[in-house]
Symmetry: C2
Subunit: 371 residues, 2 copies
Amino acid sequence: MASITYELQKTCPHTGARAGLLHTPHGTFQTPMFMPVGTQATVKTMTPEELKDMGSQVILSNTYHLFLRPGSELIEEAGGLHTFMNWDQAILTDSGGFQVFSLGDMRKITEEGVTFRSHIDGSKQFLSPEVATKVQEQLGSDIAMAFDECIPYPADHDYAKRSTARTTRWAHRCQEARHAHDRQGMFGIVQGGMYKDLRKQSAAELVAMDFEGYSIGGLSVGEPHDLMNEILEYTTPLLPTDKARYLMGVGTADCLVEGVARGVDMFDCVYPTRVARNGMAMTWKGRLNIRNAAYSRDWGPLEEGCQCYTCQNYSRAYIRHLYKAEEILALRLVTYHNLYFLLEFMRQMRQAILEDRFPQFRMQFWDSFKK
Amino acid sequence: MASITYELQKTCPHTGARAGLLHTPHGTFQTPMFMPVGTQATVKTMTPEELKDMGSQVILSNTYHLFLRPGSELIEEAGGLHTFMNWDQAILTDSGGFQVFSLGDMRKITEEGVTFRSHIDGSKQFLSPEVATKVQEQLGSDIAMAFDECIPYPADHDYAKRSTARTTRWAHRCQEARHAHDRQGMFGIVQGGMYKDLRKQSAAELVAMDFEGYSIGGLSVGEPHDLMNEILEYTTPLLPTDKARYLMGVGTADCLVEGVARGVDMFDCVYPTRVARNGMAMTWKGRLNIRNAAYSRDWGPLEEGCQCYTCQNYSRAYIRHLYKAEEILALRLVTYHNLYFLLEFMRQMRQAILEDRFPQFRMQFWDSFKK
């Protein structure tokens, strides 16, 4: 029995959207789902109880960061990431590939893996398919990601082809390095840049390896939204319908609805937590910056009708005051609201899919949303 | 009917310690009690629900800070401080006197009041007995404090005498400026520096004005603990037994137990929240700095046996990691623990008084506590 199984519940007859359940060693979560990001073994400013209250069923944590600090051995000694951070529901860890890639001059890539300098203390470090697999097993996440090479945008076909081939070779090495199939699934990452022939080849090679799920990688890396959607629309049909599909680094309502329409089941992004720290609240009509003087005597909630803890209890004027006074509660309240907003957005999309009205949901969303 | 009434429940036959209830327009709180400080209309890093969970029954907020930002008119427009910050239990506000006094070169004191520069934008501002009384009525706190002049330590007898006389004149002006006796009580502040004759005179003059409670001011301003205790021991018997007594700016276990032994009912201090932000956890045995490398693989709680949310759910190793990674959850967890510790400490002292064993409690405390 695989540790991770996807149960398809409903497919939209007009789009690629689908509703399902992902069963993991730490419970089942509903899809489509947004995963809050807990980079350093904590979703910034939040407790696990708050995440559960708002309906989080799975969170993401970053292998790169935990590998460097506090170290995966320490977390393994704690009993794994779930115990360490007091989170008993599902956890997905990325492989660290994207982060080390983003280090630019501070990393060197060879066929063996990536040598890099720690952003914390400058120490020399090494990640490879084998190391990333071992580290994720030490962390004990429910879903591990294969260690891949992320293709920058733009990249020429030749570069993209060589890189995609390496991602496939690395995916093989990850599969071979696994020792915990019974308690951890692994997702393969489809690369190929913005080239359909390479996406097709990458998908075929990874699907042949029978991962427990698939991520569409190398998107949301600076390309136009239309191009992202085009590649997504081309790629998801290449993936098996009985496995979950995960689009990395996407977390705004407009991108989520279009991702879901193209058959994506899982998303993650630091966006809702990061912008909260600047006072940006996400709403069904777009963003608002609560620091704006216009809200200084606004006694209404961040979003009228929102059922989140923040909107049920605090006014825009109070939250604005907290930001101006640089109080930490400000960050907590807007982070809570933003994560709730995205989770509620996903719940409503899922309900629309289950009730055969996803196209209407999508149309209504675009009618009211201002980018 | 006075808005604030003190109900004496028990007096320790061997010390000045006493247990009671303070009835306010926003509920009754048990004494002796520690009041967490919510300077800017928020107890740093905490929600009102968390404060209630840990047993906070009353909080303190600072007139000086709220007067400058967001302004007391705005808070009045919000429906008062309780509504603004979503706290439905008792609130005590200080008068701003201590803060403007602490501004040093940035303030000028005359008989009329204090002119000062805002620490936020440098604007010229003015506080006086009448303004401080009005501002506190706009804030709508349950307990207001009279606007006093704080005597620095050390100060000569002549200076202390003139200053104490002014505090008495200002206390009269505060009483005359009040318009909300039915919904807000006011405490007078006994001054007199380190001089017993002046303390006696100050207490007599203020008690004659029939405030709803009395604060012992001008202590914990740099004098040795022994001297603080001596002045306290001299002063509290000068105050009526049917009114609450409040010692300002005291919030460490050692000072609290000695304050209670001398008949003090209420305390406040930023200490537990401030040191939490530096990783300092308060325990029955003294302080520990969770950032210390010794805790990197310590899987126990901050304090063995502690029933607080933090200790029930997180290890020292995890909290240390959060500090090293500069995560806000670190500040939340240690703030929660420190406030819980002080509230629990007060609860246990109160129980000891009620059960006629306060002297034993005090002795046991000193046996295990390391300063």
